[in-house]
């Protein structure tokens, strides 16, 4: 009797459970933060999760500023002002040692979840694709690809035009190579996601530390 009841509840849950529970990541959360933070940030002992959206933080004015700094408009059904971003503050004991932040980006065949592991100054330590639907997912998710981003900051990304996929003049961005030429659109989506990620972190948590490099295309303003 109990077994039957259990079965019925399981069936009901499968049929009726709100889809939100099956697709919890409406924004861009780590699938298993306990495991993922420890893996992405070796030496960390804990983390704090913060949720923030452009809408809450500054509304349309902030959106306009983010788009200006990104060099592109937010597009489509899902890149909107109310997307909740999840920002993980990472700790070693009581000391804060960095951040992990992810964004959703539209790829050729599906959503790409681009996570950046950053130190307290917003310098990239690693890039991680939590999800990437592509024929060349294996090559793009190879740790070697993510390691190319180590040491870069938003200052370097200002030289990169997300719309054309080109850099203006010599830049540290030049070292980032697409491992599969056929996956050009996903490669560019990944770079756009990384730049958007950095801009949002600068707005949300770094107090616009890198805005000074914005209009000067990556050079410090005099």
């Amino acid at each position: 009797m109990m077994k039957k009841a259990g079965f019925m509840v399981a069936v009901a849950a499968m049929l009726l459970i709100p889809a939100k529970l099956l697709f919890a990541a409406v924004g861009c959360d780590l699938n298993d933060p306990d495991r993922d933070v420890a893996r992405l940030f070796p030496g960390s002992t804990g983390y704090k999760t913060n949720y923030v959206s452009i809408d809450q933080k500054g509304g349309p004015a902030l959106l306009a500023q983010v788009e200006d700094r990104l060099g592109d408009k937010f597009q489509g059904l899902f890149e909107t002002i109310d997307v909740p971003y999840t920002l993980y503050e990472v700790f070693k004991g009581k000391e804060k040692i960095g951040y992990i932040h992810g964004v959703n980006e539209k790829g050729q065949y599906g959503g790409i979840q681009v996570f950046l592991v950053l130190d307290l100054d917003g310098v990239i330590k690693n890039l991680y694709f939590q999800k990437l639907t592509s024929r060349y997912g294996k090559e793009l998710r190879d740790p070697k690809f993510g390691e190319q981003f180590a040491g870069l900051t938003l200052k370097d990304f200002y030289k990169y035009d997300v719309r054309t996929g080109k850099t203006s003049g010599p830049s540290a961005m030049d070292k980032i190579k697409n491992p599969v030429p056929e996956a050009e659109s996903d490669f560019r989506a990944a770079l756009r996601g990384a730049k958007k990620n950095l801009v949002l972190v600068d707005e949300f948590i770094l107090g616009n530390k890198y805005i000074q490099y914005h209009q000067s295309g990556g050079e410090q303003k005099k």
């Binding site: 039957k4 009841a5 079965f7 019925m8 509840v9 399981a10 069936v11 009901a12 849950a13 499968m14 049929l15 009726l16 459970i17 709100p18 889809a19 939100k20 099956l22 697709f23 990541a25 409406v26 699938n31 298993d32 495991r35 993922d36 893996r39 489509g76 059904l77 899902f78 890149e79 959703n104 980006e105 539209k106 790829g107 050729q108 065949y109 599906g110 959503g111 790409i112 694709f129 939590q130 999800k131 990437l132 639907t133 592509s134 024929r135 997912g137 294996k138 998710r141």
Partner: protein, 396 residues
């Protein structure tokens, strides 16, 4: 009457703290009662709505496979069992059946989903019958498939959001290396459909190399049909398993009713405590005012006058407590719903606590009735006071 009311009201004000605490006790009991009755009503109607939103009341699956979604979740695509597609026509011929729709669920492993990979599921549906059966589904963008074999996909809202897809975009079925074009994005429904990727049945059969086989059949039964009898008939089909949503609903309601009995018992205890509180307050008040009551009676007040006065005090306490309790229940309905969702193993979508005006009036009536009954003894006792003895006892 107004004069008696003023006297009763002023009597209660003489002991503000005591009266206040008694009102709080009644208010808490009324709060629990309104919330519980609201939950009783809300849960069932939400469950009914969720079941109606499925579009069918019965699902037939291959024997040994509890339900394809459960299997996919536990085993990915490896544990699915199939039944021949011809069963669909067989079932459609039954007189109790209004409509049937054939379904084929498949999953592929995507190594690039999460740290160690994950499954993506696709539900093949019959474009001729599924949209009719799910007529409540609305589109955010686009529409259903252009033909029965088209390599096209319609995505539930959450699935589209996760995959960042819009109409015109491509979707890759990894493992099979097949591209399908997104032709529709559904609006949110709050059901499992939000997370589903729909493809035409024949397209799924072709992509996954499964000929004339299904994982499930949705059945919409005629309104006047005997579902239990029809269910028995379905059980006689070879190698199939029947999941009746009426049965599912009954099982859930049985499980929930066990929890409800426990909570109602707690509510009953709360009501009993408040009844004792009312009796105690009024009785104390009577004992403290023996001399006054004696004087009133010596001035010509009858036992009935005294009874009415004390009973009115009880009524004022109960009405005040009832109003505050009902207001509290309405104000905290959302909070109660959140708490219930945390506690229940399964909660349907939509409002779980529905507090309506008739329900508030009913609870109010119950509280007043209980209060009045609890006021009978103190009022009767006060009415029986002998004037001279009462005056003398206070003087002594």
């Amino acid at each position: 009457m107004i004069k008696i009311f003023n006297v009763a009201y002023k009597n209660l004000l003489r002991k503000k703290t005591r009266s206040g605490l008694t009102i709080i006790g009644i208010a808490l009991a009324a709060w629990v009662l309104v919330s519980l009755l609201g939950f009783n009503k809300g849960y069932e109607s939400s469950l009914n709505r969720d079941i109606d939103n499925l579009g069918f009341q019965m699902i037939v699956t291959a024997k040994g496979c509890p339900y394809e979604a459960a299997t996919l979740m536990l085993k990915g695509g490896t544990g699915l069992r199939y039944m021949p597609q011809e069963i669909t026509q067989q079932i459609a011929k039954e007189p109790e059946v209004e409509e049937v729709t054939a379904m084929l669920m498949q999953a592929v492993f995507d190594p690039n989903k999460g740290e160690s990979g994950g499954y993506s599921a696709y539900l093949g549906v019959d474009p001729a019958t599924f949209p009719q059966m799910k007529s409540f589904l609305e589109f955010k963008q686009g529409k259903w498939f252009t033909n029965t074999e088209a390599m096209e996909a319609v995505l539930g809202y959450e699935a589209a959001e996760l995959e960042q897809r819009e109409v015109g975009d491509l979707l890759l079925i990894t493992e099979k290396n097949v591209e399908v074009k997104v032709v529709g994005i559904l609006k949110r429904t709050g059901t499992q459909d939000d997370g589903t990727i729909f493809l035409p049945l024949k397209a799924v059969q072709k992509i996954f190399g499964i000929k004339d086989e299904l994982t499930g059949i949705g059945i919409k039964v005629k309104k006047d049909a005997d579902i239990a009898k029809f269910e028995e008939k379905m059980y006689k089909l070879p190698d199939v398993q029947v999941v009746s949503l009426a049965q599912v609903k009954q099982t859930i309601m049985t499980l929930v009713s066990t929890a409800k009995v426990m909570v109602f018992s707690i509510a009953l205890i709360a009501i009993l405590i408040s009844v004792v509180g009312v009796i105690n307050t009024i009785l104390m008040s009577v004992m403290e005012r023996l001399q006054e009551i004696g004087i009133l009676k010596s001035m010509g007040a009858t036992a009935w006058d005294i009874f009415k006065l004390i009973w009115l005090e009880t009524l004022i306490l109960c009405v005040s407590g009832g109003i505050i309790g009902a207001a509290l229940a309405m104000a905290t309905a959302k909070l109660t719903e959140i708490l219930i969702r945390q506690l229940l193993p399964y909660a349907p979508s939509g409002g779980l606590v529905q507090i309506s005006l008739p329900l508030v009036i009913l609870t109010f009536g119950v509280v007043i009735l209980i209060g009045l009954l609890s006021g009978v003894y103190p009022s009767w006792k006060a009415g029986r006071v002998r004037p001279l003895e009462a005056i003398r006892s206070q003087v002594e």
